[in-house]
């Protein structure tokens, strides 16, 4: 152990390695902050530069981009309601209302602190719990996934607030649009209507930009008084230590949710962010403020989002199974350098793994430094007049949407979704449940059908073990809690109305 650690330190400590992680995190933050540019794109763009580097250096560069990208997505989500990543759309729920109140600095600060803390916890889990979490993750088959996603869907009630029926409609529409494309089992067409561009389904990024960012821009032109909603964002103080402490429970919970969900291949950061947000709302004494600019909501969403950063490496390093698309690209980088992640790597290249661990820990520190520096610069966006800012954001969104697949069809999807989003805005239909349905829908359906394939049509498979049962119990508890709090809320409203009359 000591020998391997010493070897790892020698392998890691070079100016090149220390500098390259900084560069990686910096690139990641920028890529994540550009609407339309995804973390996967950032990692893929940097990949060719790693070919000539040492394996540790190259992999650390990619990991830096990955971690920076996860945080960077939250910057534009808070300032412009244009999330750079799907997971950051959860941060926009409370971050953007805070920015509109002139508290952009506070929201960005909290997002950074929560991100760094969650990233740190996730890194520790990667270092100390790899074997345990990899074994736990392996117990997840389609029925366990299905019950987990069903539990995650209870978030819809949380983000719908007092508009539950509209929230269910919004989520159903998201679930419906997620079915567009080729059927995963039979390969037959679903809602394609002869348009081959739809065969691969609708891309996340144009959908979420269209749904969140552009309706705000359209709405801007419907107002007479178009002064900046964000006022002197930099004049406000950042997050106080006491505020961080008051959100600490939600941050820790979100970090742990991120660690567990990140270790399960195929889940990703978005469900983790939404689940963390939902749990924070359920347990917070300020639950009524969630969705209206509650700082705890920003903290929970970012903790859930970044909590997956280290743990997605667990199945990759321990089993050789990539947890998401980004780690699949990183797996490619390992293989390019002649390394094969998996149990054997812990025997043959332990010094390399330890060197990566050291670099990953350093990346958390860099994330804090770069994030803190970028907040001062980037939050100046809030000072730009909305009459200039919104057209610029719209053009940026068009470039970003096109860049995803080099295809104008994605721009069309974005426009159509923006009209839908604008209708939602005017009709007071919450857009967040749509996104949850759209993100979780394919996972829910695929695992439901795969489970039935496994059981030859028997529904008993959804109750086959303790994991499934735990998730069913949690779902029932969550629903009971939601119904109770709704009934209580209605009673309070009725008594207030009686008082007024």
């Amino acid at each position: 152990m000591i020998e391997n650690l010493t070897a790892a330190f020698f392998l890691f400590f070079s100016f090149q390695n220390i500098f390259i992680i900084f560069v990686g995190v910096f690139i990641g933050v920028i890529v994540g902050a550009i609407p339309g540019m995804t973390t996967v794109m950032g990692v893929a763009l940097v990949l060719p530069f790693t070919f000539t580097m040492e394996p540790v250096t190259g992999i650390l560069l990619l990991l830096g981009v990955y971690k920076g990208g996860l945080y960077g997505g939250s910057i534009t989500a808070i300032l412009l309601k244009a999330p750079g990543t799907p997971a950051a759309s959860c941060t926009a729920l409370d971050g953007f209302p805070m920015a509109q109140r002139g508290e952009a600095r506070r929201a960005l600060d909290m997002a950074l602190y929560a991100s760094c803390f969650a990233d740190f916890v996730s890194n520790l889990s990667l270092i100390f719990l790899t074997t345990f979490l990899a074994a736990f993750a392996l117990r997840f088959g389609p029925p366990e996934f299905f019950t987990l996603i069903v539990f995650s869907l209870t978030i819809i009630a949380g983000v719908s607030g007092d508009r539950l029926a509209k929230g269910i409609f919004s989520a159903s529409l998201g679930l419906l649009l997620a079915t567009v494309g080729l059927d995963i089992i039979y390969g037959t067409e679903r809602f394609i209507f002869g348009n081959y561009e739809l065969m691969s389904g609708l891309n996340f990024i144009p959908v979420l930009i269209g749904l969140f960012a552009l309706p705000e821009i359209f709405n801007h032109y419907t107002k007479k008084n178009r002064t900046n909603a964000v006022v002197n964002a930099l004049d406000n103080v950042g997050v106080k230590f006491s505020e961080f402490c008051s959100c600490f429970k939600s941050i820790l919970r979100g970090s742990l949710i991120g660690v567990v969900l990140g270790a399960i291949p195929g889940i990703g950061a978005a469900p983790s962010a939404f689940l963390s947000y939902s749990e924070a709302r359920r347990n917070s004494k300020n639950r009524d403020n969630f969705g209206k600019g509650e700082i705890e909501g920003v903290a929970a969403a970012e903790a859930g989002n970044n909590g997956v950063a280290g743990s997605t490496m667990i199945p990759l390093l321990a089993l050789g199974v990539p947890g998401d698309v980004t780690t699949a690209v990183i797996l490619g980088a390992f293989m390019i350098h002649g390394l094969r992640p998996g149990p054997l790597m812990f025997v043959e290249n332990l010094d390399l793994i330890y060197a990566i661990f050291i670099g990953i820990m350093l990346s958390s520190l860099y994330l804090f430094v770069i994030g803190k520096a970028s907040i001062r610069m980037i939050s100046r966006i809030s000072d730009v007049s909305n009459n200039l800012l919104y057209p610029i954001v719209l053009v940026l969104c068009v470039f970003g949407a096109f860049a995803i697949n080099n295809n104008l069809f994605d721009v069309l999807v974005m426009i159509v979704m923006s009209i839908l989003g604008f209708a939602f805005l005017r009709l007071d239909i919450p857009a967040a449940p749509f996104l949850i349905g759209f993100i979780l829908g394919p996972l829910l359906e695929d695992n439901f059908r795969q489970s039935l394939l496994l059981s030859e049509g028997s529904y008993e498979i959804f109750f086959r073990n303790s994991i499934c049962l735990v998730f069913w119990c949690l779902t029932i508890l969550a629903l009971v809690f939601l119904i109770r709090s709704n009934v209580r809320g209605n009673k309070v409203i009725n008594s207030e109305e009686k008082g007024k009359n």
């Binding site: 540019m37 763009l45 009459n387 200039l388 610029i392 007071d428 007024k500 009359n501």
Partner: protein, 177 residues
């Protein structure tokens, strides 16, 4: 205020009709179902469940709207609208039709922007769109509008093409490359 509660009810009815159209038209004609596929595994099984959910939510919205309408008629106030919808009615905004007209102009401009990209390229079309939107937004400072409108798309083009290695459509300008 009554018409707003009617709108809620009508929204629910519209959603129910949408779900109905989905079940009788969109799903049968939009989804290819192989022969002999078991019901729960058939490609249309899941969309059907979701479409029923859409219909159910439409019914709930209608019922909610109707209940609020009746409550209002009885003199009670309503809690169905959140602050955001009420804020749409305040005096800072144009009248409903004026506001919708302005939003429609922006949306049409957006479509035109999308349609002309293949012909004149993303850089020039973005420049035109920027000039239009900034001017339409009420900013007439040409010394600011023109540099932004022409330099920003150019910068984005150079960034995506030369840094991100993503080719961008140039329209007829491709002949000059």
């Amino acid at each position: 205020m009554n018409k707003w509660y009617n709108r809620e009810f009508l929204l629910g009815v519209f959603i129910i009709f949408f779900a109905f159209a989905g079940v009788i038209f969109f799903i049968p004609f939009g989804i290819v179902v192989p022969d002999n596929s078991p019901q729960a595994l058939a490609p249309n099984f899941w969309p059907l469940i979701v479409m029923y959910l859409v219909g159910f939510s439409g019914a709930a919205i209608s019922a909610h709207g109707l209940a609020d309408f009746l409550n209002l008629r009885d003199g009670a106030s309503s809690s169905i609208f959140s602050n955001s919808s009420i804020s749409n009615l305040n005096s800072d905004n144009f009248s409903f039709f004026e506001a919708m007209g302005r939003a429609t102009i922006v949306i049409i401009a957006f479509f035109v922007f999308y349609l002309i990209i293949p012909f004149i390229g993303i850089v020039l079309s973005s420049s035109i769109m920027l000039v239009f939107l900034i001017y339409f937004g009420g900013d007439c400072r040409w010394q600011i509008i023109l540099p932004i409108a022409f330099l920003l798309p150019l910068f984005l083009y150079l960034f995506f093409v030369h840094v991100a290695n993503v080719p961008m459509p140039l329209g007829f300008f491709e002949a000059f490359q």
